[in-house]
Symmetry: C3
């Protein structure tokens, strides 16, 4: 298996790791996450006791660290064994591999590769999670039977909205095709903005903020390799100068974080949060947004799992042909290929 290992991946939502240890496989590595009792900080260790290989995620957290549920050995946040029942001397080699880990913005990030290269400054910032008054939000995670790249590429070509989400969030196919799109390449990703100027707002937008007429509508997507797509979608009444300033009162806007993390070569986790930026004082608006996004993303899941199966049955991507709407996707794939090569070279 070959993964981009020197990278920060979203491993879990912060609330997934409570008083008990939590196991999840990331890039083929079984990892146990637990919250240190004294500090509240998250630790990430290999989910395999170095004594007999038991899954540490079946253990429990105590004051000294994480206790294996099989024979009671305890490991601290660094993976060092600090207690062996009935044994005073603890051999130094009783050590479980540890992973760099960081919790911020309600997200637990993990670094699978070389710990010395784990630069915390490179973790994707997502400050909206910390401003619940301005951006009330809800979160979810799916297990998807497909390579994570296929889910990112789904987000790089929004013409799919008109087909996959025809009856949900899709809207008018022609409008999506005619959108004005600007793409900016970045060192480890890309940023594109699509504008649907002077267009009919979707029914959900009208319901949300009471638009009376046509709107300028935008879809702003930033891909940050390897697994993140930061989305900001919204609309303002025509004539209010949305392209110059999107942040005006009375507009519609929502933010979605998509974070894709490989579990194995052919499966991944799809983390997402949806933030209501238009009727913040109405919890039912946040819930409705969540329900609508959940319905739409399940449509993506069905399509992409079938795509993976079709690729598997036909020997992979050989012979596929790019079309005009693939520009962002192609750059995204090149970025991932480059990062993989850099990792192999290192």
């Amino acid at each position: 298996m070959s993964f981009i290992r020197n990278a920060w991946y979203m491993a879990a939502w912060g609330h997934e790791v409570g008083d008990t240890p939590f196991g999840r496989k990331i890039c083929g590595e079984p990892i146990v996450f637990y919250r240190d009792r004294a500090t509240g900080k998250i630790a990430a260790l290999q989910d395999r006791c170095c004594h007999r290989g038991a899954a540490l995620s079946l253990g429990e957290v105590n004051d000294k660290g994480l206790a294996c549920g099989y024979h009671g050995l305890v490991f601290d946040c660094s993976g060092r064994c600090v207690h062996v029942p009935g044994q005073d001397k603890i051999p130094a080699k009783l050590q479980v591999p540890r992973f760099e880990v960081e919790e911020r913005d309600e997200i637990i990030w993990v670094w699978i590769g070389d710990p010395d290269k784990a630069d915390r400054a490179k973790i994707l910032p997502y400050p909206y999670h910390n401003d619940r008054a301005r951006w009330p939000h809800r979160t979810h995670v799916y297990h998807v039977k497909a390579k994570y790249e296929l889910l990112i590429e789904n987000l790089m070509d929004l013409t799919h909205l008109a087909y996959v989400h025809k009856t949900t969030i899709g809207g008018n196919a022609q409008a999506h095709v005619e959108a004005k799109m600007t793409v900016e390449r970045k060192e480890n990703g890309l940023h594109f903005v699509r504008w649907l100027p002077n267009s009919q707002p979707p029914a959900t937008y009208i319901k949300a903020v009471g638009f009376q007429g046509r709107v300028d509508r935008w879809m702003d997507f930033e891909f940050v390799a390897p697994g993140n797509v930061v989305q900001w979608t919204g609309a303002l009444d025509v004539g209010r100068g949305a392209e110059q300033n999107r942040l005006q009162e009375g507009g519609f806007s929502l933010r979605i974080l998509h974070s894709l993390t490989p579990e194995t070569e052919n499966t991944c986790f799809y983390f997402w949060s949806a933030a209501n930026g238009y009727r913040q004082h109405d919890p039912s608006a946040t819930d409705q947004l969540y329900d609508q996004i959940h319905t739409a993303f399940q449509e993506d899941k069905v399509m992409i799992e079938a795509q993976q199966a079709a690729l598997d049955a036909t020997g992979g991507e050989a012979g596929l042909v790019d079309i005009a709407s693939d520009a962002a996707r192609v750059h995204m794939r090149r970025t991932l290929t480059r990062l993989a090569e850099e990792g192999n070279a290192a």
Copy 2:
């Protein structure tokens, strides 16, 4: 995987392909079948969009052809792309592989191999499906976890009736063993007829046509490689000269089409139809026949899936020993081996 590719396989019942595309894997190839709106004709394409590999079977049929459900590309019956949303010029290489396909006698046949060799004159004719007054019938299809050859060989040795179908359609073991059997070898198959002269009719036969005494009973099976077995079973009162002319009033007769199609190396589809040739004006007779056959064939399915598992666990067929009743089966297997070799040589 090695399949006999230059051959017509039953791919579906005609009624399985309606207004929406229909996906099925045949000989390891994922195939989408759809019915052209203008002509009503069936098309068969690789079930993988040539753009990003999406499963075309999740798409929809429109006036131009089959539209991919992911990004809206449309393909005609030949697999040529005829529409790319938002793009005027369509590159010639946007082309999905197509398979030769033919619908007749309620059956959709597909040719997996070299299209130039797809001779439609070699499709098995089954005219009984077109005469619903004389042969009212019902159809079914099973997915079976076994090589398709094992299901054909099940039909080549009818002594299994007395064991597998002991409590259903089996009847008397001794009668089956003592049946007079003639086997005629054919270019791509064989034809055998078994007679149980002057025998006690099964209870279902008596119920069906009111036999008062003993009957001459026949089982007429034709194997047409690679996957078809055409069965005609019946009985007439002793003394009416059944061996000279089976088609007399007041007799019992039914026809079963068995068509076996590889899905993968070790799984297949078992298509069958059962036609009531004895009480045609009574729909409940057709239904009873269907129920009875369904019950019996499920018994076969259990036996053959366990046979496949036993062979898998013991290294295959090495060391198996033929017995007297294997004559037809041995010829059947030789025919398949010859066809496979011819395909490899070509």
Copy 3:
């Protein structure tokens, strides 16, 4: 796959093989067990008819032997074909491989390897099953998704009781760690006894025999390679000299037979019986013991299946570190390694 083949494995409880044949895979070999009608003796054949490979376990037992459910061939206890329907001459090569098998003490034992080496004197004796008045008991079998060795090693290190069975049969962690343990190595196994002298009896012991104060408590385990662990657990009031003579009136004692048998490289069967040696005239005491053991062993199953998965995900046992409580386990693994090497050398 590499198994210790020249060994007796528990294949089934005697009551699992009744009037119909019974199939089970042992060391990768599909085996059918049936009870000869005339003698009542158990026969063990390869579960694959030598005619077409059908699973003989789908057949039925008749007066001549085991009849294949597919085409009716009959095999005697030696695997020789004694009947082919409709065929007078039976070729000598119509022969199904047979396994050495022995039923005793309610257990069916099978020998997978060289029949000439199958010494019945080496079958583990378990006479307690034959004394239902003294040792009323109940039995069970689990299918476990783990190598059988992992389940044996679970029994070689009883410190796990305090962690895996914390809320069931575990009791005090400190007491288990401080137990006095003597280990005796044997030719094909080992025998250890752990004493918890002058200790507080568990609640279930008090309930069972009415202990008023502290007890001397023992755990006596004998490992007999490759798959058996014979357990005798009990307690006597302090001062009655339990270490000299455990078999006194008014004590508490129970016997458990654990027998682990590989199904495949990574799955096994866990047979166990639990015998009530303290309130023999009370069937509800036997039932309570059974329920308690069943609950505890399911805890082991969860832990060990997760251990197997963790080992699989991390390349096996490389890098694991032994601790003080592993002494018996290490000798057990060495015994299995030696037996495997002897088998390979032979």
